[in-house]
């Protein structure tokens, strides 16, 4: 790999690059799924290739190829140079990079069991068992299960002398029960919706999720929703269980803190951000209880945003984003950090694969658990009247990340400290900063889960990336509820 990178870096240097880097990647993935007792998907995929990113005349060029022989590597590097020279024809200023020390490093996702070492028979048998449990409930009209594994091995070389070899493992699994009756389609998912729970770890995640144990309950809840009352409309106190709070963080904290959005670089597609630069260290983003970090370090946990180095060789870091309610940090890269006076990149540049340019992505954007002991049971018992929202069903937010609306699969009315009636089609909406400033309770560490969002889309061409979001159940006061059905 080093030789391959040297071919590319030499061409880039000879043709005038002031900076260049090369990433060589080998990916392997497996997707297994069942649908109503039959195989829904059984596929393996391998992809290999490399890219060359160069900075010439203060402008970027990027080219990639699957052909890893010398002629291809050199012509791809030359193409990146030509592209950078074309970029330089339309610029207002030169790109400059925040300094970063060259490193030589090796890192692998901590894992107990390589997920590809588990037999396909064993995996399919587990999915079929879940499927049988779901469909044992009368009224379940469609049962879907899924299990996904990914291994990505990446070699990174830069013209500054970095040589980094990282191997990442990702495991994910989940299921959905649908029930169609009358004029309604209802569904329940476990452990979360849109693919379940995903983490950067090995097969041990599958055992931790207690998939079979929860299947019948999920099927029963999907059917029971038909008889539940419609979620009321109005202003209510609400409690979000942790996976929904994780998505709330993703949309209303994670995206607006991306510095490329703030600086207008994503204006055509993903949008910009309400977090303009004067708001740093002046905006009261949330209540005193709101503490959010962007933490890619291994000690944060096995999130989809956990790594040792980002895709331009910057070490994983923990950046305080919201500290006791005050907005304190952005997600940055070597290009964007100097534009706001930061001395160093926050280490958040990542690419979907070998054929995509790395861009700023969320790492693990997590709300810290409450310091005072508070279980979910205690949170409910301390609540006079509220609506509890479980498991995301829909999500939408404007292109500056002010106005949001979320729907969940299931709601519960909390009255006088007790969970009472089930509610169907619950939704809530609001304005980001008003919402976070209304948070008046968050559960403590034992209720905190590091959720994985495997499907975050950003960039042109669009790149799908996994992000992590640690969250514990939390309560918010006076939130608008039910407008999705108004």
């Amino acid at each position: 790999m080093k030789e391959l990178a040297a071919w590319a870096l030499n061409i880039a240097s000879q043709r005038g690059a002031t900076y260049a880097d090369v990433r060589v990647i080998e990916e392997r993935s497996r997707a297994l799924a069942t649908k109503n007792g039959k195989i829904g998907n059984a596929s393996d995929s391998r992809s290999e290739g490399f890219n060359v990113r160069v900075l010439i005349d203060g402008a970027w060029g990027f080219a990639s190829s699957r052909e890893c022989h010398r002629a291809s590597v050199e012509s791809t590097a030359a193409r990146a140079v030509d592209i950078a020279k074309a970029s330089a024809r339309v610029k207002q200023s030169d790109v400059s990079l925040a300094p970063e020390k060259a490193v030589t490093a090796e890192w692998t996702t901590p894992h107990e069991v390589d997920p590809f070492s588990i037999s396909i028979e064993q995996n399919l048998a587990l999915l079929q068992k879940i499927d049988r449990e779901l469909r044992s409930v009368s009224g379940v009209t469609l049962a879907e299960t899924n299990m996904n594994f990914r291994r990505e091995e990446q070699w990174f070389f830069s013209s500054e002398g970095s040589e980094i070899h990282q191997t990442k493992y990702t495991t994910g699994a989940g299921y959905v029960a649908y029930s169609f009756a009358g004029s309604e389609i209802q569904k329940r998912s476990y452990p979360s919706s849109f693919g379940g729970q995903w983490q950067n770890k090995g097969y041990e995640l599958i055992d931790e999720l207690k998939l079979v144990e929860n299947a019948r309950r999920i099927g029963e809840e999907a059917v029971a929703l038909h008889a539940a009352e419609q979620c009321p409309q109005g202003v209510f106190d609400i409690i979000l269980e942790s996976s929904q709070l994780g998505l709330q963080i993703h949309e209303s904290v994670g995206h607006p803190i991306e510095l490329d959005r703030v600086l207008g670089m994503e204006a055509n597609f993903a949008g910009t951000s309400f977090l303009t630069l004067e708001k740093l260290r002046t905006l009261k983003y949330g209540s005193e209880l709101v503490n959010v970090v962007a933490d890619a370090r291994q000690e944060h946990g096995p999130g989809l945003g956990t790594f040792a180095f980002d895709d331009e060789g910057v070490p994983a870091q923990c950046t305080p984003i919201i500290s006791n309610g005050l907005f304190t940090g952005y997600l940055s890269s070597r290009e964007t950090a100097p534009l706001i006076g930061l001395e160093r990149s926050g280490g958040t540049l990542r690419a979907e694969s070998w054929n995509r340019l790395p861009i700023i992505r969320m790492t693990n954007i997590s709300i810290l658990p409450g310091e005072q002991p508070l279980t979910m049971e205690q949170l409910i018992s301390s609540t006079e009247h509220a609506i509890l929202f479980q498991t995301n069903r829909s999500w939408s937010i404007d292109d500056k990340r002010y106005n949001f609306q979320f729907g969940t699969e299931l709601g519960w009315e909390i009255k006088n400290g007790k969970r009472t009636r089930m509610l169907k089609n619950p939704s809530y909406s609001g304005i980001t900063t008003e919402f976070w400033n209304s948070m008046d309770a968050i559960c403590s560490r034992e209720e905190w889960t590091l959720w994985g969002t495997p499907n975050c889309g950003k960039g042109q061409p669009q790149q799908v990336m996994g992000t992590g979001h640690g969250a514990a159940p939390a309560r918010f006061r006076k939130v608008r509820v039910g407008s999705a059905y108004s």
Binding site: F62, Y178, N268, G271, P461, S483
Partner: protein, 463 residues
């Protein structure tokens, strides 16, 4: 680019390595480049070349797929072996059909013949030419003291299929795309277009429209949410109606996950709504065969507001003909709309064409006929709130205008909507001539602008 002959040679090696009853090979990939600009600067600029081979093996009711982008003998042996390993351990599925034979493929003449969708000028576009196009856009922005952001992309691509029963099909296509956002101090405007033929795209023309929208929406006013008559430009129509069409597959009905459950044959939309799936339409793009190599038929999905029929893969058609729903869904045939097997979705119409009205109206005529309403350029972050009533939520973006007494009065702060798609297509008062349209939330279609009454805006945001 990978040629059909090269692919045939690779397939002959794969056949040799396979030990299963049947083997199928999908080829995809090509060369693509995308020049991205923001802050009046090209800030990202990329090119790639990649091809993939996806091998499906099948025997005794079992099937699975494996994919690689390496074509050496060892990689091909590995990909065949991976596919067979995944298939071998499955329980047999009695519904799995044999792979289609050559007389079911496009080469049989049963399929639709397409005009060429490959344009050498598009394929040859250089980074310097794309930069020149971006330069034109930026010059227009700078003249008006705006900031431009967007993309200028071009590509050439192949799509092919071979199976062990002798079926083969091949498609090549080029594509060019320009998307522009013009940012002003407190407003913005947007335009996007794509075509297989770069000669049909004008960066300067699109930039002028986007700039005009940004200028006219400056100083946006806030008005109360509620039900308004809206004029949805084609991109806004595309991004909402796109949420309907995955429900027009036969398997969606068999699975009971479609909003068309118990509604086929009923008048669901207004009488002025007729919709086709037609890959051969001159404004459409894409290959004329599906994930099994079956030719895509031209299908009328909706006629005068009545849902007439669904699209099917071979497997879904076979299942539907034996299902309890078979008498309630109209004609049941393999229409050539299946996704590669195995998959959980089945099929969907991906070449949507709205039928032209006898008396189409221009957007200007729609505005002139509106006492009070809202003109919407583009919608954003649309998600399904209710799968059966097809309630969608989302935001307006990049050019939302108040209309009073037949004229655009001012720009408006953006709204959130919660709107049933069924109701929306029942409240269409006027439509323009359908045009090829590209958005961000759905696949490209041929759709009109629409004037829709009682569109449900539920909240207003801060800009």
């Amino acid at each position: 680019m990978l040629t059909r002959d090269q692919a045939a040679e690779i397939f002959s090696r794969i056949r040799k390595y396979a030990t299963t009853d049947e083997v199928e090979c999908l080829f995809s990939g090509g060369r693509s480049a995308l020049t991205r600009f923001a802050n009046n600067t090209i800030h990202q600029n990329m090119a790639e070349e990649n091809y993939g081979i996806s091998v499906r093996t099948a025997f005794g009711g079992r099937t699975a797929r494996a994919t690689t982008n390496k074509f050496d003998d060892e990689s091909l042996k590995d990909v065949v072996s991976a596919s067979e390993s995944l298939a071998r351990v499955q329980e047999p599925d009695p519904d799995l059909l044999p792979m289609p034979s050559p007389d079911e493929s496009e080469d049989s003449g049963a399929g639709t013949k397409l005009p060429s969708r490959y344009f050498q000028e598009t394929a040859n576009l250089t980074p310097a030419e794309r930069a020149d196009g971006v330069g034109q856009i930026v010059a227009i922005a700078q003249k008006r003291k705006f900031i431009a952001a967007g993309i200028f992309a071009s590509s050439e691509a192949i799509e092919g299929i071979f199976n062990s029963r002798g079926l083969s099909a091949w498609h090549t296509q080029t594509s060019a795309e320009i998307s522009i956002t013009m940012l002003a101090e407190d407003s913005s405007g947007w335009q996007k277009a794509n075509s297989p033929d770069i000669a049909k795209l004008s960066p300067a023309h699109l930039a002028q429209i986007a700039a005009e929208k940004a200028a006219r929406s400056a100083g946006p006013r806030e008005i109360a949410p509620g039900k308004y008559t809206v004029i949805l430009e084609p991109a806004a129509v595309l991004d909402t109606v796109g949420f309907a069409f995955y429900d027009f597959g036969g398997l969606a009905i068999i699975d009971q996950r479609s909003f068309l459950n118990n509604r086929i044959g009923t008048r669901l939309f207004g009488e002025n709504i007729s919709i086709w799936d037609d890959v051969s339409h001159p404004l459409q793009s894409g290959s004329p065969f599906d994930g099994e190599g079956v030719p895509r038929a031209r299908v009328q999905l909706v006629e005068k507001g009545v849902v007439k029929r669904l699209v099917y893969s071979r497997g879904s058609a076979s299942k539907m003909s034996r299902s309890p729903y078979r008498d309630k869904v109209g004609p049941i045939d393999a229409t050539g709309h299946g996704f590669p097997i195995p998959n959980e979705i089945g099929e969907a119409p991906m070449n949507i064409v709205f039928e032209k009205q006898e008396e189409p109206a221009t957007v200007d005529q729609m505005i002139a006929s509106t006492d009070r309403g809202i003109l919407v350029t583009r919608l954003w972050y649309i998600r399904e709130v209710d799968p059966y009533e097809k309630i969608l939520t989302g935001m307006t973006r990049d050019g939302t205008f108040l209309i009073e007494n037949g004229k655009i009065v001012c720009g408006l702060r953006n709204f959130r909507f919660n709107q049933s798609l069924i109701e929306m297509l029942s409240h269409v008062e006027a439509m323009s001539t359908p045009v090829r349209t590209s958005g961000e939330e759905s696949f490209d279609m041929v759709v009109p602008a629409m004037k829709v009454r009682d569109f449900n805006f539920t909240e207003v945001t801060r800009f």
